[in-house]
């Protein structure tokens, strides 16, 4: 079975690496789309630094929204474990990605063993714009908090104003039931994700939680839209001081979610080489780019449009690794579930670095 291609021609891995390194060495502005575990990400960022490139995650748009809540505001948070054990009142905010539904259903099947230890009750605040979110809410028997023709940011504003006792014309369904539930719950928790609407609404949500903490306790659980993307953000932070959408100009990293949005850079023809990673497999690179593409993808066929394709494995499936898990809210060592011969992203990037002029090993 082939693991490397130049165009559509199968080639030995060393040939693919040598050719990819040539493209990298001659690029003026390479961009990297990341999709790997912690160690793949570490290697890719180290390579981007060496080449004066820029990087983002494959799920960069949603990740940028989530990052913006922290960089521009902050907030009060708790972990999934603590919410499960302590919170008898959970409020789902907008749409939560399907990947997290099992976690939430597991909470529904368990009883808090700390704090007020009451039977858990569920609410769901949402705008009028989404349908998908309703399915989860029904499964959890969550009571709906929404207003006529109100978007989620508007509804969150109405809830916050209402809890302060402000008099406004709009109101939400079941608001009295929610107020009653708040009087007995000692640690209410709001569950949100990058899919829960605009960052502005999430800032409103955090303001609401801050209000509740003036006299009682409340917090939020952040379930990232994509666990791997969040892991990449955390890794990027310790390596460069910044979350993704960071670029290296004159060996100095700078963070700018607009400037280093690499899909924009490709569209606007600023980038001249795209290193595209997809360890989850079964994906194709975003359309529209006309610049040379190096694909590091979990695939058994050459990536369409790629100058070079190198097949890589996924941490936790093909090889051991470290991934972010929203089940615990931190990193987890993952073992290969179906060990394979596919190389890891970090090993391929290490080979690329050593094939560059200078042949220096990367710092990680």
């Amino acid at each position: 079975m082939s693991v490397a291609w130049i165009g559509s021609q199968p080639v030995p891995l060393t040939d693919a690496v040598r050719n990819a390194a040539k493209l990298l060495a001659s690029s003026r502005c390479p961009v990297f789309t990341l999709d790997a575990d912690v160690h793949g990400t570490r290697s890719a960022i180290a390579l981007a630094e060496r080449l004066g490139g820029a990087y983002d995650h494959a799920a960069g748009d949603l990740l940028a929204k989530e990052v913006a809540l922290f960089t521009d505001h902050g907030g009060m948070f708790t972990t999934p474990g603590e919410a499960r054990r302590r919170s008898s009142l959970i409020v789902i905010v907008g749409e939560i990605p399907v990947a997290h539904h099992e976690l939430l259903r597991a909470w529904a099947d368990s009883q808090p063993d700390l704090g007020d230890r009451q039977k858990r009750s569920w609410f769901h605040i949402d705008g009028t714009e989404t349908a998908e979110a309703g399915k989860l809410a029904r499964k959890l028997k969550a009571i709906s908090l929404r207003g006529e023709v109100l978007s989620l940011p508007a509804a969150l504003g109405v809830l916050r104003a209402g809890l302060q006792g402000q008099r406004i014309a709009a109101s939400l369904t079941n608001i009295d039931r929610f107020k009653k539930a708040l009087t007995t719950a000692q640690f209410p928790v709001f569950v949100f994700s990058g899919t829960s609407g605009e960052t502005a609404g999430l800032v409103m949500l955090q303001g609401l939680i801050a209000d509740l903490n003036k006299t009682g306790r409340a917090s939020s659980v952040f379930l990232p839209a994509d666990d791997d993307a969040w892991g990449t953000a955390l890794t990027s932070l310790w390596m460069t001081g910044f979350p993704p959408r960071t670029g290296f100009s004159n060996s100095l990293p700078s963070y700018d979610p607009g400037r280093w949005d690499i899909q924009r850079m490709i569209r606007d023809k600023e980038a001249d080489l795209h290193v595209w990673m997809s360890t989850r497999g079964g994906e194709t690179p975003p359309r529209g780019g006309k610049i040379p593409l190096i694909s590091l993808s979990k695939t058994n066929a050459p990536t369409s449009g790629a100058k070079i394709t190198i097949s890589v494995g996924k941490a936790g499936i093909d090889h051991d690794g470290v991934s972010y898990s929203s089940r615990t809210g931190t990193f987890r060592a993952v073992q290969a579930a179906q060990p394979s011969q596919l190389p890891s992203v970090s090993s391929i990037i290490g080979q690329l670095a050593e094939a560059l002029p200078g042949k220096k090993a990367l710092p990680c």
Binding site: R28, A154, R160, R259
Partner: protein, 271 residues
């Protein structure tokens, strides 16, 4: 003396960081020194001499002949003198300027006037998102000065504005005046959704009733006629508007009450 003029030789192949090309930054530099300033941002960065033909001597008056959406950070920290661009500019035009005037004949990208403290920034075309707004991580936007956009502005115009005046003459996108702290935003033309969301203080002046206002603004009825007259006069005197914006009986909303905000949205009635 003739204005120090940077004539663009060809469309740049990379984004350019032009923050060094200000009156203060260029004062006392020789032609050769200027030509060697690095402005490119890629691995193989361009120098001033690669991109521009430089003529004229007066660094207090700088002209960019031509323009590009890749001209970033034009007029950064401008504290006096004048800069004019005869075409478009990219990101962060007039970033942290504290005096002087910056005139863009074309359109500007995101974050024009970001962190501006004083001076006058005028954009004849359109502006991108985050007009006068903070860069990622910063918690205050524009802190003073006058920022005029003759065309349209994008989303989040005037985010976290703290002082100064922003005037947009052909409408703007969503979340105008988002998290405003104080200051004034004038918009003629259509305003997108949720103007004033999370605003604490300050004023939005609109030439029509906002279509999609957050429910956490309360209707205050008619407002002080004398004030709206004075403000309209100011806009005309400063050549921002050529006719009154608010009229004599503007309506008023107060908010954002979700943050106990004391901001106001004044608008012309009857349109």
């Amino acid at each position: 003396m003739k204005a120090l003029t940077f004539s663009l030789l060809a469309e740049p192949e990379e984004r350019l960081d032009l923050s060094a090309l200000t009156p203060a930054g260029l004062a006392g530099l020789t032609d050769v020194q200027i030509a060697k300033l690095r402005i490119g941002t890629t691995r193989d960065p361009a120098l001033v001499g690669d991109m521009f033909k430089v003529t004229g001597k007066d660094a207090q008056s700088i002209v960019f002949e031509g323009g590009s959406a890749r001209f970033d950070k034009v007029g950064t920290g401008l504290s006096g003198g004048a800069i004019r661009v005869t075409g478009d500019v990219g990101l962060e035009a007039g970033r942290k300027m504290s005096g002087g005037s910056l005139l863009i004949d074309g359109s500007a990208g995101n974050h024009a006037g970001s962190g501006m403290v004083d001076g006058r920034l005028e954009i004849k075309g359109n502006a991108g998102d985050y007009l006068g707004g903070p860069l990622a991580g910063e918690i205050t936007g524009m802190e003073g000065g006058l920022l005029i956009v003759r065309g349209k502005a994008g989303n989040y115009a005037g985010e976290r504005l703290r002082r100064g005046i922003i005037a947009i003459l052909k409408g703007c996108g969503d979340y105008a005046g988002y998290r405003m702290i104080a200051g004034s935003i004038v918009v003629a033309g259509r305003v997108g959704a949720m103007p004033g969301y999370l605003m604490k203080r300050g004023s939005l002046f609109l030439d029509r009733r906002p279509e999609n206002l957050a429910p956490t603004f309360v209707d205050c009825g008619e407002t002080d006629i004398a004030f709206s007259g004075v403000f309209d006069q100011f806009l005309i005197q400063e050549k921002i508007m050529d006719k009154p914006l608010l009229g004599t009986t503007p309506g008023k909303f107060g908010g954002d009450v979700a943050v106990s905000g004391k901001g106001e949205i004044l608008f012309r009635r009857g349109r």
